[in-house]
Amino acid sequence: MKQVYITGSSLVCALGNDKFQSIQTAKKIDNTNYKDFFQDNHNGFNFFKINQTFQNEKEKFYTILKDTISQAIEDANLSQEEQKELHIFIGSTSMSISINEEQSQLYYNNQSTKMLEEVGYGNIGTFVENLVDSKYKATILQTACTSTANSISYATELIQANKIKRALIIGLELFNKSTYKGFESLMLLSKNGIYKPFDKESDGLILGETCSAVVLDSAKKDNTCFEVIATNTSFDNHSITGSNPSGETTCNSMQKALKKAYLTPKDLTCIKAHATGSENSNLSEAKALDTLFKTYNETTDVVILKPFLGHTLGACGTSEIVLLCEFIKEGFIPKTLNYQNGYEDISFKPLLANKPVSNATILFQFIGFGGSNTTLILSNKG
């Protein structure tokens, strides 16, 4: 079975317009200046906004997508011939609905006779195929907030099985009213604008926009590359929007991934929790982690990234992997922002101070609407 490495990556998000700028911004954020960075920066919404200006939603969508892909390919140092061998996977929950929102607004205001700009999202894949000159058909995978994590998992398995040579996985979530208002109607959004997952005072999540990408390859580029050493996906049939309060499925998914990697929690540098900030999801996942640690009678550090990026939904797989891997390349795993008080019956606390590391083995956990639980274990210790 072939090994699979992340050989290139990129991140455009509220922290910056590339991964290097993003990590430098992230390093400056702490609990005291948190609100200065993120509060109300999107026309009165609590939202983590990409700091770029565009004429319209279509220009924004395709410009950010193009920039992100170009950065990832440059980072992977792919030749034009190598780009042709890229199998493309795109994960997102909202896709290009922002473009249709803009068009339908014109339509309903009698400024256009055209109701929709696009029907279906396959054209996004075609755009990327043409951009990178890939020989292959792009796959758009939607499994809610696990979309890109599942895309990485699929691409990894295809490379391991020698079905494909390399893959480009893109996560994309840009601001759109449908998603924002949808989460608002589900009463999941924070009102106070301080994102504090796993804290018992958390009043909800804050959405964020991002475009991020990773290149997966069977050939290791250098010693900083992270290897995908195990993946697992499990289904939680509890509810379409909520995890089983027992945390059973999430715990099982993490255990299965650990077993596939021949690891236990003590072998991990940290677990990157999904940690959305919504009460049900927080409690379920915290219970899952608690059970995991008690089952093995071992612990590891728990890292939470959404206070840096916002909840980037289907793109959080790529955006959080890129951000944490970059933190590690900077020499540490990051503290949990805004955390003060944990739940009474949970025995662990997330990491509260930056911790120096030179390399790492990380379990990434992702959980989505519709019951999807995806666990990825990455390491650059090999």
Partner: protein, 277 residues
């Protein structure tokens, strides 16, 4: 690998209410405030596995070219008006992946669910992933569906979608159960091959023997370029929906012998399905 069972239905733009009536024929479960797209998918999936044995851990792969368009339009109308609230169920309905959860709920399954789009070849891509998952022994069974709504009510729709022959669009829901189990199988899947251009495809076609052949609309347009025997091409329904090639394959499986289906995308990338029955 085998196709254990299939189901296919097309309808002329039925309402959600009409689909709920149809659904009552196959389940007593209630699906309230669920979109037309999701109801169509649940109906097809339930009909496919009606009175059939299936593994509780069966994975579900739902393919769609256009997704939940009717309900997306409802949400777009809501967000176009400043003060309008997006209702929770309307929002959840436009999240394509939720269809898998609802089908799992209807079938009482515990396998994973995936919602897949790939322009021109969404069903083919979903089938490919399911085929791969079974071939690497990740799962024993898969339910692969193709679901798309009628779009004729959208003005100038053919400027927005790829409907090569500008056919009338239908609601379509087509499902295939894939399994390692040969017992009572409808057909054997001999292979599923992909090609990045017509030359590669034609080289492979030269090595194959077959009795009947089905072509998607892009492949049909390349009839004179493909190295095939035109007399073996079967005629297909003139009904069109986004993931219509699933319907074509379902039709092909009515024939006996060595069966071939070829789907091309607009750039001549090819999917070749080879069945024996």
């Amino acid at each position: 690998m085998y196709i254990s069972t299939t189901f296919h239905a097309t309808f002329q733009n039925k309402t959600t209410k009409e689909y709920k009536q149809l659904l009552k024929e196959v389940t007593q479960k209630q699906f309230r405030r669920v979109s037309k797209f999701n109801i169509m998918a649940i109906y097809g999936a339930l009909r496919a596995l009606e009175n059939k044995q299936y593994d509780t851990n069966i994975n579900i792969y739902t393919a769609s070219e256009y997704g939940c368009i009717e309900d997306m339009n409802t949400v777009l109308m809501q967000v176009s008006k400043t003060d309008e609230i997006v209702m929770p169920f309307d929002f959840l309905n436009i999240n394509g992946n939720n269809v898998g959860f609802l089908i799992s709920e209807a079938l009482n399954t515990l396998g994973n669910n995936f919602y897949i789009t790939a322009e021109d070849v969404s069903f083919e891509k979903a089938f490919e992933l399911a085929y791969f998952d079974i071939s690497i022994d990740k799962i024993d069974e898969a339910l692969v569906g193709a679901v798309d709504e009628s779009l004729d009510y959208i003005q100038d729709i053919n400027s927005l979608i790829k409907n090569p022959e500008h056919q009338k669009t239908y609601d379509g829901t087509t499902w295939f159960q894939l399994s390692k189990e040969s017992k009572n199988a409808l057909a054997k899947i001999e292979s599923l091959e992909t090609f990045t251009n017509l030359e590669e495809l034609n080289n492979f076609l030269n090595t194959l023997q077959y009795d009947y052949l089905s072509l998607n609309l892009f492949a049909k347009n390349k009839l004179n370029t493909l190295k095939i025997d035109p007399s073996k091409v079967i005629s297909q329904s003139e009904q069109f929906f986004g993931t219509y090639s699933a319907m074509y394959i379902n039709n092909l499986l009515n024939y006996n012998g060595k069966l071939l289906h070829i789907s091309l995308d607009e750039n001549n990338r090819a999917y070749l399905f080879y069945f024996t029955k």
